[in-house]
């Protein structure tokens, strides 16, 4: 049995902001996970880049040619950052995706990149609204968490323990259902205001939950969603219209 307790209130939670945000200067850090199509990644960055924004790119450790291309092309753009050590070998459905995202998040925080929002996208995203619309939408509710999630259904056969090896997931055992925490799943992509990013980086619960989530299948759709619904900010109703994704099959 794995039990994860509610975080002890030993440190103050990062507080939400009570000032307004001017959409003309709202600042975004885009966290981008990339593994192919570097020319398109350049186009995506160009489409989003504005003076107040920064980008933190994680390029799959197996995509060295992509890393070399992008880091050369973008070397003179000082608002574009690359994780250049400990890059993850990303497996579909693996916790490596979460790890890569957390590393980008930590990088942005440690580098003190200025931002009001952090937005998680991939190299196959594209903005369908103007940059001003994006800024205006985020600035309208500057404390809003953008995340599309739902409570996790408990199919017994889904609770299997996985490890990542050789670029794929391997089922090794049954996984006990975590107790003391409300498991959620949902869309991998999110936009978090700064206070929530801060909480994710300092929260003991976020650290502890890694020990469980690293064995969960499709952890990228579990980790951030579960943490939000068990955070001090769980009474918020998250906005669910960040990313248009179609599943026809």
């Amino acid at each position: 049995m794995i039990t994860l307790g509610i975080q002890k209130l030993t440190v103050p939670f990062p507080s939400i902001r009570n000032d307004s945000v001017d959409p003309s200067v709202l600042s975004i850090v885009y966290v981008m996970l990339v593994h192919h199509h570097p020319e398109f990644v350049l186009r995506l960055i160009d489409a989003l880049d504005e003076p107040m924004h920064s980008f933190v790119l994680h390029v799959d450790a197996r995509a060295n040619s992509v890393y070399a291309y992008l880091s050369t092309k973008l070397q003179h753009r000082t608002n574009i950052h690359f994780l250049n050590v400990d890059r993850e070998r990303i497996s579909w459905g693996g916790f490596s995706i979460v790890n890569a995202t957390l590393k980008c998040m930590r990088y942005a925080w440690d580098k003190q990149l200025h931002f009001d929002y952090m937005v998680d996208i991939s190299g196959t995203h594209y903005p369908i609204k103007s940059n001003y619309y994006i800024r205006k939408t985020l600035a309208a509710t500057p404390n809003k968490i953008h995340l599309d999630s739902m409570p996790m259904k408990f199919y017994p056969h889904m609770f299997q323990q996985f490890v990542e090896c050789d670029g794929s997931m391997h089922r090794i055992a049954r996984l006990p259902i975590a107790k003391g925490i409300n498991l959620h799943v949902g869309n991998q992509w999110w936009a978090f205001p700064k206070y929530f990013v801060h909480w994710l980086l300092i929260s003991q619960l976020a650290k502890d939950y890694i020990h469980y989530a690293q064995y969960v299948a499709i952890a990228d759709e579990n980790y951030f969603n579960t943490l939000f619904h068990n955070s001090p900010y769980c009474d918020q109703k998250p906005e669910r219209n960040l990313t248009l994704i179609l599943f026809d099959r």
């Binding site: 020319e39 880049d49 996208i121 599943f247």
Partner: protein, 250 residues
Amino acid sequence: MLQLNTADSIRDGKCLFPDATLCGISPDILTMASAKSAVEQSRSMFARKIDPTMPDSLALVDYIDRRRGTNIKGYSRDVSNWDRNRDGSSDLIAMIQVSSHAQDHMSIDASYGRDITSRCITFPITTGEKAFIRFDKCDPQNEQQWIVLGKLHNIYLLMMIYIKHCIGYYIAYLVDRCSPNYEVTIEDGKCPVFKKKPSVSSASITAPSIINNIHDDIGQSKYKKYFSTRAILYSIVVYDNQITIAIRYP
């Protein structure tokens, strides 16, 4: 995303569970044929996923760019001319076009402290660097920098850049060189000099302190229909060796 599938939709590497019909699926590739309508109607800010190896998916991106007003000229637009001249050392002269109403173009040899490769020139910065455009006669330590962007008859469009809390701002001003109250000496690359006309005072006045009065002059001018008296520089678009500066009117 996990979803129950029929056996024929199972994809390699995504059927992780003992029940072979419980598999992961990936989002559909968005194309003009499949997603144009969804993109038009969506309230979302982003879409996924694009496959740039598929012409119809790239066509959707081109369509999105047109909707966003980003006017990218195809997938392989070339902005490298500007990029190569980022230090202002080459012979390349970038043309600055000041709105569609401007009659004259002015050439400047500009350089930036920050590297620019995108079509959206971004000399305001957030990293603590100072925006820098070549002003030989201006104090490089001064956080207020001036540049002449263009002119329409006697109306000069000047841009002031200032840095506040590590974020650069632009304000574009219009100055009437033939103001009844002021003499204005404007040379590209130099700080504008404002002097009250002898009937008012012979004292030299620094630009920031006088700008509101000049606004009043311009506000009454016949050129008001072309320019607002105060405009915010919204974007600068670079392609084909030309920079277009877009001014957003308040």
